[in-house]
Subunit: 391 residues, 3 copies
């Protein structure tokens, strides 16, 4: 039907556009969370990730993931590509955010090529794509993961875990006496702006992943998906607020926003399958997991300036399992198998790739560079050169 | 017709998404207008308003407003809910913005629950919704208010008026000798960004309120509505510019932007019914009202750091009456009756609710807290901790 | 067909909305690139350009450009107007950005009136519109220019060239000994945010310029157009990165972003006609042109704080010729003729108009005003009054 093709193509372009707002979204979120001396390099990394990951995916990764450019015909193949391309940079964003304030840019750029051309497409291949594991014991294509709870968020999280293990923490973050140096976010308006651009982008991410809107049934599924996505974010924000408020008697906006993002990740595996009240529970647990895991990772000296491990890895796992918990005909074991196999592929592969890159290009900025700021060392350009610093 | 259902659902989701851009819009506008020491708390309030008001509306307010989740069937019920939900936080945003730099967060959060669950749904009930006043003398459902000129903007404005009367002005704003302490905006780029996100959100607000786009007639009505909305904003900006320029020989961007917002509010009651030139007059008057009323409220010692009374309350009233002035088959008396009855419900109700909340939770930050900044007192987190302050 | 009318109207409104995001996009980009003492005036100019150019176009320019409000009937005439109106301010944005940090606001506002009512509509008239040159030797309506590579970008660039020749450089930019004073950007997050809002706006600009999406063929053309637009931006960014990195061993985010914008301009004349790999070359050349021409204009003492001549004029020319190079049935001579005739109209006309305005209103701020900052002189309002300056 021509009209279905037209409307679904238009809808995919709309959804893709919302996801692209996540590019400045991640950039603003991270630029606000790091210290001013590292802001330019964080922004540079974000821009380069979008450019490099997208082009690598276009030239190499996309065909590897889906088998061919012509694998579907219900919407324009260019729109389908754009929608899928909008996802790929996110995987590296998750990883790069978590190693902010201590990573050199060139090795990150090299890792981005590998993720866009090979690592992320491998995971897409075995879940949403051509599936080279089809018919084997390791086939996980029946895992329910509408919009990348495991495929994107856990994948990025596993890569980040590998990177943190190899790179270590920021200079001065963990004292010899066991104390943790608090490093405050430098620009809260940017954090807020970034979080909301991500939130809005999620409507496109999850809504667009339904794949079509051109029947009554699909239109309802898309609308329910977006509603459930939003609801989980609301619940995550509220739980992030309440838990920190009752503990510290202060309103911690970074925890409220990270709670919202945790809720948004948590709902991402099955927002089309939940009733309209279930995301309240799923998102609330997502927000709570962020509040609990941020200090746990800190105790483990896993230094993650933006909380990406808690938001994306922990909630990527929780969110994928949640479909098994809340949807009656989805097996939690199937979901768990998917989670494990993706982790068992991504974590060691990332570890090896980052290890090799690190051998040749030294990912970690040295102590002097970190003290001076990555901006001076790598970019020769301050983010706010005219503002006098008090720290 | 399935295709109409599909297209109108898609359109509602598109419009809803634009309105959600108003969440960071309000947040950036207000964060830019207040002093740096109050920026984090203003942002925290904005995030919490979105989370709390939306969830309260979903769980309680929506059914009260519209009678049931199944009250319409021309688009997906989830899309209809999302579109309506996108409105609710705006009412509290209008109020919270106007009491910035002196309000505590927890009582605002409580008020938000009441607005989302009860106060705003009451007004929706008697105008666009189930209408418990139907058949009584007080029935105002024939008031023309396409997108909430009275239902949202005046409602928020009346609530703000009540809050200002109860809370008083910021510490040091009005001197004993009658002088007014000028308190400059701290971040003009954020003000500009926020105003344009609101402007774009308005396209969704007013365009989406036409309710359908899937016939030629509706498509024309939507396009005319968005054009008229934009035109009124243009005219408001230009009048805001000219009036301040001829008076002070300076370009005052906050007045230009508030003039635009005044024009946008002013056109909101009937943008689908005006010819394409009438919004120039309506918006110009809207911009002029902002320029005239901002100093008037200051003379009355109604301290409103963001100009919300002039933008939303004054223009909410003007804009609702304007339909009676410019559209031949709409009675200005019907419009006036609607304005009065909504004011007569919202102002006293808000006053009582805020009064009670204030009794138990003290809305106003004390003088030391205001001097130190609400951020330190309530959030324990500065917005820009590394930038040395000159003030 | 009613459904085609509906869908194409909806699509035009969607595309228009994306373009309007370019208003804050240009504003943030320019506000980030100039020094803090000139930020408020740059933002004021951006707001006024949108208001004045749009209203002048609505009241005068639009009918002059297209002959009548009823010249097409495949979509709502209001949607068609809005889409065209979204373009007009961009022409002045290109010009105003390049004369930042030394221009007075009022004469710019007057020039904006002339561009919106007369200059830009003249170029639209002879290319996409009523065409008063039809049948003459100077008819250029067969030049291929989908979305304004010449009509908008070169036009803005030629006007900027005229303005720079008349106004001269910023105070202190070019020393007597031939040295060039480096003036660093004041706020890199704003530059990044602005560039990505422009990038996203380009999807609407180019995608919407296809004019319809309601057939399978059109849906494919729109999707290909947006994909090609994006690809050229990716390639421009990567080339901007590589060329500056190999030369300076630093990552220069302003060059990466300007490279992306150069690529986006370069693809704008024919993104619907290229294969999906050609934009990699076209955008890469676009990015390279920016890197090469920025220092060339500086050597010529053409002071352009935002690189607009390289991004918009040079790439406007290159992009228009590129269609002749890459598309077999388009003649490069036809393209060249269009480029030349538009330049031969816009450059002298702009020169005369700006010359006259300058006679009566002095465009250039004097040395004291520049030293103090245009904000103090023109707006009486600092952009960041509380942040202590180190410069």
């Amino acid at each position: 039907m021509e009209m279905n093709y037209v409307i679904d193509t238009f809808f995919a372009l709309f959804a893709m556009t919302l996801i692209i707002f996540m590019v400045p979204g991640f950039a603003m979120l991270e630029a606000g969370l790091v210290r001013t001396k590292n802001v330019t390099s964080v922004l540079t990394v974000n821009v380069m990730i979008y450019a490099i990951a997208s082009l690598a995916f276009m030239l190499i990764g996309y065909e590897y993931a889906f088998g061919s450019w012509e694998h579907q015909d219900s919407i324009s193949k260019y729109a389908f590509f754009l929608f899928q391309m909008a996802f790929v940079g996110k995987v590296v964003n998750i990883m790069s955010g978590g190693v902010s304030e201590r990573s050199r840019i060139l090795p990150l750029a090299l890792f981005t090529v590998v993720v866009g051309a090979f690592l992320y497409p491998t995971i897409v291949n075995i879940t949403w794509g051509a599936n080279f594991l089809s018919g084997t014991l390791f086939d996980i294509s029946n895992m329910v993961d509408l919009a990348g709870c495991t495929v994107i968020h856990s994948t990025g999280g596993w890569a980040l875990l590998a990177a943190i293990l190899i790179m270590g923490s920021r200079r001065g973050r963990y004292k010899k006496n066991g104390a943790i140096q608090v490093i405050p976010a430098s620009n809260i308006p940017l954090v807020t702006l970034g979080a909301f651009l991500l939130w809005i982008g999620w409507f496109g991410f999850n809504g667009g992943s339904v794949g079509a809107i051109s029947s009554k049934e699909n239109a309802d599924a898309v609308a329910l998906t977006i509603m459930n996505t939003n609801t989980a974010g609301l619940a995550g924000a509220i739980v992030g607020w309440l838990l920190t408020y009752f503990r510290y008697k202060k309103f911690d906006i970074t925890m409220i926003l990270n709670g919202a993002l945790g809720g948004l990740v948590a709902v991402t595996a099955g927002p089309d399958q939940y009733t309209m009240y279930q995301p309240i529970i799923i998102g609330a647990i997502g927000g709570a997991l962020v509040v609990f895991f941020v200090p746990i990772f800190d105790k483990l000296k896993m230094d993650d300036p933006v909380g990406a491990l808690s938001v994306h890895l922990v909630n990527g796992i929780w969110g994928t399992l949640a479909v098994g918990v809340f949807v009656s005909d989805v097996s939690i074991l199937t979901q768990l198998k998917g989670v494990i196999i993706v982790g068992a592929i991504v974590f060691p592969l990332s570890y090896v790739i980052i290890y090799i890159i690190n051998k040749f290009f030294t990912l970690r900025a040295n102590d002097e560079e970190q003290l001076e700021g990555i901006d001076a060392a790598e970019c020769g350009m301050e983010a706010y050169p005219e503002f006098k610093r008090s720290i």
